[in-house]
Amino acid sequence: MVNPQMVIYEEEFNQIQAAVTNLVKAANARVVFVVDKNGQLIAAAGEVDDLDTTSLASLTAGNIAATGGMAKLLRENEFATQFHEGKDAHIHIQLVGNRVILVVIFDSKSSLGLVRLRVRKSTEELNTIFESLDRKPEKTTNSGSPFAEITDEDIDNLFND
């Protein structure tokens, strides 16, 4: 089986982006981002400029994968929620529908209780969006794919130093 692709369309991307932007405000968070379980960053909002979101996304996915491995050893399905408390910054990690990860970074301006409450609502919202995304390939056609016509020249051009 060749690995399937995850495609994010404009409509869903905007919905996801709106959801994380809303969550930043609602939870009084510093940063919120959504990562797929393979470590690819899908959307981010908040004070992301001074943050290496790519590395954070990869490490979050690694964290979730490791925790999932521990869950299996304990015959649990998953550990859907994680919380890491630091001196100034705290991270709340939530699995959404066992397909993507919702990460909230917050500080003393917020609280764990508020974050958990808001995350719960956002999780439902994101779940709905990703379920819609899952159904999308059935409604669309292959026409318009920019990759079906990739030429060797296109690929070679990538490697011209």
Binding site: V7, G62, G144, S145, P146, A148, E149, I155
Partner: protein
């Protein structure tokens, strides 16, 4: 799983470097990191022990440039090579788009190579994948060490299907970018073959052809393996569907009879890890990288760096590991 963001016009792919302990997977990534332009790479993350042995994974995001108006980003991962980290290795393979098997050319590591390759197949199978179906290349690393196997011998052991393979001295950069380019090419070919099923999103602006390359290895220091042009007969250009089927049935391999706890510990203290991952004292590479005779007509040509060998050299300073 290739991640395509039609809104941001990005393609993100995951490449995993697999191989036995101390074969040079991390060294490959460090070399790529050191020789890639700053604006085309992110931070390299290494989850390693205090003795610089990979504990969970190394991670390096790089950007290759644009193709058909889409930014192409590759996330490079290594796995921990040590046998007892199998659970971690398996996790990292999840969602892999392309795989590089880094083999240690040393005779003493022949069994470790085979064991690791078998482990790769087993772990992929748990995700419903197999090496025949995913972009996959092999790198024969440490070609500068004295006690190494001939390339043909390595091929017969590790590459019966004739996937693209490369000689390398990762610590010096030889063969590193050739390997990366080959697997990236196969990933794109796979993307082309699949036609990005279901892509019906915004089509505007996708017909612009390839954009400017961001410059792999283009930081003014050319890769030792000779980055530049693509050979006229590139094994990586062979469509994946033309790969011959797996010829060696798994049952021909003797099962591992030694329980993990009886494995001898790594022979070398980790803190003495040389840049190329080879044992200390074996670095003065006198052996040309030319390897054995050329393969048969169906065998893809092995890419070699200029001169075919690294020549006698002292050990270069180890690249900094960034945590």
């Amino acid at each position: 799983m290739t991640f395509i963001n039609l809104m941001a016009r990005e393609i993100n792919c995951k490449i995993v470097y697999y191989g036995p302990g101390l074969c040079g997977k991390t060294t490959n990534l460090e070399l790529i990191y050191n020789r890639t332009k700053p604006d085309a790479k992110g931070k390299m993350v290494s989850l390693a022990t205090e003795t610089d042995r990979t504990l969970f994974f190394d991670f390096l995001p790089i950007e290759l440039g644009e193709i058909r108006g889409f930014k192409t980003r590759f996330h490079l991962y290594t796995v921990p090579g040590q046998v007892f980290y199998d659970a971690s290795r398996k996790l990292i393979l999840k969602g892999v788009d392309g795989c590089v098997f880094v083999a240690d050319s040393q005779i003493a590591r022949a069994d470790a190579n085979e064991e690791s390759l078998e482990n790769l197949k087993e772990n992929l199978a748990e995700y419903g994948m197999n090496l025949d179906e995913i972009p996959y290349v092999i790198q024969y690393n440490k070609r500068d060490l004295p006690a190494i196997m001939e390339v043909d011998e390595l091929r017969s052991l590790l590459n019966p299907d004739g996937v693209p393979d490369f000689e390398a001295v990762a610590s010096e950069g030889r063969g590193v970018f050739e390997t990366l380019k080959a697997v990236a090419r196969l990933v794109f070919m796979e993307l082309k073959k699949s036609g990005s099923a279901g892509l019906g999103g915004p089509s505007g602006g996708s017909g612009g052809g390839a954009g400017p390359a961001r410059g792999l290895g283009g930081s003014g220091r050319a890769p030792a393996g000779g980055g530049g042009g693509t050979p006229s007969r590139s094994p990586a250009q062979r469509p994946p569907e033309q790969r011959p089927p797996e010829q060696r049935p798994p049952e021909q391999r003797p099962p591992e009879q030694r329980p993990p706890e009886q494995r001898p510990p790594e022979q070398r203290p980790p803190q003495q890890r040389p840049p190329g991952g080879g044992p200390p004292g074996q670095r003065p590479g006198q052996r040309p990288g030319g390897g054995g005779p050329p393969g048969g007509p169906s065998r893809p040509p092995l890419r070699r760096g200029p001169g075919g060998g690294s020549g006698p050299k002292g050990p270069p300073p180890p690249p900094p590991r960034q945590r």
